[in-house]
Amino acid sequence: MKTNFLFPYRFKKVSGILFVISFVLLALLYIIGEFGTFEFKAKVFSIAGGSGLLGDEGDFYWLETSITDELLMLLVIPSGIIYAFSKEKFEDELLNTIRLNSLAWATIANYTIILFGYLFIYGIVFLNVLMFAMVSQLLIFIILFRYRMFRFYKTEGNEERY
């Protein structure tokens, strides 16, 4: 019985590796900050906003800026989505239930964290909360679901025939 759409299992490993690498690089980029040491500059199309926080050169124009973080985000989000929503080696309905349940809890946990950040973090530091919110739900879901699957695969079976 076909129930829901998931990416094929063969994408799982490669997207997982890609996600971890690009996520670590993205985190490093923000920890180091001031993208000084490694940056790719390119002309990009801006719908709104300019370079720098308050830069505003108008709307719909071409802008020369660093695209290191854009490139990494372009890796993190698609690889994360594919990794999170690709099939397990053996799919069955209990696994689907676990996946849905993890997704619900990840959403609740994610918004709890964001709300907490919204209430207690102010000023420019709040930008960090917004950055975190870009990938947090995906990240929390992946961690939660992998943990549940780890426990699922470890379940002791009762193999006696009696």
Partner: protein
């Protein structure tokens, strides 16, 4: 909901793994079913019913709090 999948499985002399393979689920699912931790879909219940050659409502039974 109660079920007697374990009893039926023993009657057929199958392990959890063998039963799982016969109806196309993982061993963990059979384990969760027998422990009463998971309520199967209608499709899975009908597959079990076919394999055990028993009506579904003889394998599964409602409890007071259902």
């Amino acid at each position: 909901m109660k079920n007697d999948i374990k009893v039926q499985r023993v009657i057929l002399n199958l392990t959890q793994q063998e039963l799982a393979e016969k109806i196309g689920v993982s061993r963990q699912t059979i384990n969760a079913l027998e422990a009463g931790k998971y309520i199967p879909s209608t499709v899975l219940a009908l597959k079990l019913s076919k394999l055990f050659d028993k009506p579904v409502n003889e394998i599964f039974e409602l409890e007071a709090n259902d």
